[in-house]
């Protein structure tokens, strides 16, 4: 796949080559996405920290073989989910299995997210991955616009240097750009753009998944 002018490509290449500032920029852009993915699993604060740390540590080593930087958000989503599930299954493993113990049933139910929650989570992932792709100025403006409690345009103007009268048009352009990001247009075009099974991570985790399938069949 040709990444074209995917804005994250140069950051990934630079971070893989040793540029720590580029890595920090990647972290700043993609932390909300990772936070969103891990928050779905009702892990403890400590477990969430461990999951995130594992994902970041592993990503540092895999930057070099991320041949398609466009696969980065999907890599983060896939690895974040997989590591979170590991924690859930380890937690269960440490409790002897008792078919009469209702906590097993609860744990099993937790695995089956209601369809509505799943769709909402996917929308959030797409939006946060899209946000990560935007130029800094547009990203910062949108983040200020969604602050809770809301900021006045005067305050936003003070923080960004954008004139009050320009905030409306700038917001419109930023949202238009958000719709056009790879992350969101991939979601909107559906299976053709981004298969439901995260193929985007294929160059990294696909091989591992295939191996584990084979191992299971042995």
């Amino acid at each position: 796949m040709d990444d074209g002018d995917y804005p994250i490509t140069s950051l990934v290449l630079a971070a893989a080559a040793g540029d720590e500032h580029a890595w920090h920029e990647i972290v700043d852009r993609y932390t909300p996405l990772l936070a969103s993915v891990t928050s779905r699993f009702r892990l403890t604060a400590g477990e969430t920290q461990d999951v995130a740390q594992t994902v970041w540590l592993r990503l540092v080593e895999h930057l070099g073989d991320l041949r398609e930087p466009r696969a980065l958000p999907m890599w983060i989503i896939t690895t974040g989910k997989r590591e979170s599930m590991r924690y859930l299954s380890l937690r269960r493993r440490n409790v002897p299995y008792d078919p009469l113990d209702p906590s097993w049933l609860e744990a099993a139910v937790d695995d089956a997210e209601p369809a509505a929650d799943l769709l909402r989570a996917e929308r959030h992932e797409a939006l946060l991955a899209g946000l990560a792709e935007l130029p800094s100025r547009q990203r910062e403006l949108l983040l200020l616009l969604v602050e809770d409690p809301p900021l006045s345009y005067a305050e936003i103007s003070r923080r960004t240097g954008i004139r009050i009268g320009s905030i409306g048009p700038t917001r419109r352009r930023a949202l238009a750009r958000l719709r056009q990001t790879f992350a969101i247009s991939d979601l909107l075009t559906g299976p053709a753009g981004m298969p439901a099974e995260p193929d985007g991570a294929a160059c990294l985790d696909g091989a591992a998944a295939r191996d584990s399938d084979q191992a299971r069949e042995r």
């Binding site: 996405l33 895999h62 590991r86 959030h124 969604v146 299971r216």
Partner: protein, 154 residues
């Protein structure tokens, strides 16, 4: 997906959904970003070192399969052809083997900065003195090559 498509045609709806997503993630962002930045210090710059990806983890098998072998150790396999490393994680101990079987030195690194060394015997078997907490990785030095595993929690 069609729902999102039409809903997101509208600026205010798109911004509302974005606000929802950002706010849900917000409480975790500070601490996770800090960890992310710290992770770079662990970047491996050794070009001769093979990166062994976690290629199998019995804890991610389907629940039913897992229950049938409940009580056995959790098995992890890290592969970096031609070498691989197999681990069995039990309640309070961790044993492993270098494949193909042969002697070597294993260095366990924790994300907290602690490291310790264990020797693998002539058949490649080794045992960790303790089950580490939090993310760890294993560096393996053998006469036929060197590898470092993916970070993982045992």
């Amino acid at each position: 997906m069609g729902v999102s498509q039409h809903r997101w045609d509208d600026d205010q709806h798109l911004l509302d959904d974005l606000a929802d997503a950002v706010r849900e993630a917000a409480p975790l962002v500070g601490s996770l970003a800090e960890q992310g930045k710290g992770a770079y210090a662990w970047r491996t710059v050794d070009q001769d070192l093979l990166l062994a990806s976690l290629s199998f983890d019995s804890s991610l098998e389907r629940a039913q399969q897992r229950r049938s072998d409940s009580g056995d150790g959790r098995v992890l396999v890290f592969t970096a052809a031609p070498l691989s490393l197999e681990l069995e994680v039990m309640t309070d101990r961790v044993v492993g083997q270098i494949i193909p079987p042969g002697p070597g030195e294993i260095r366990v690194e924790t994300a907290g900065g602690a490291t310790f060394l264990v020797e693998a015997d002539d058949a490649g078997f080794f045992e960790l003195p303790d089950k580490p907490r939090g993310p760890v990785r294993l560096r393996c030095d053998t006469p036929s090559g060197r590898l470092v595993t993916d970070w993982v929690r045992l």
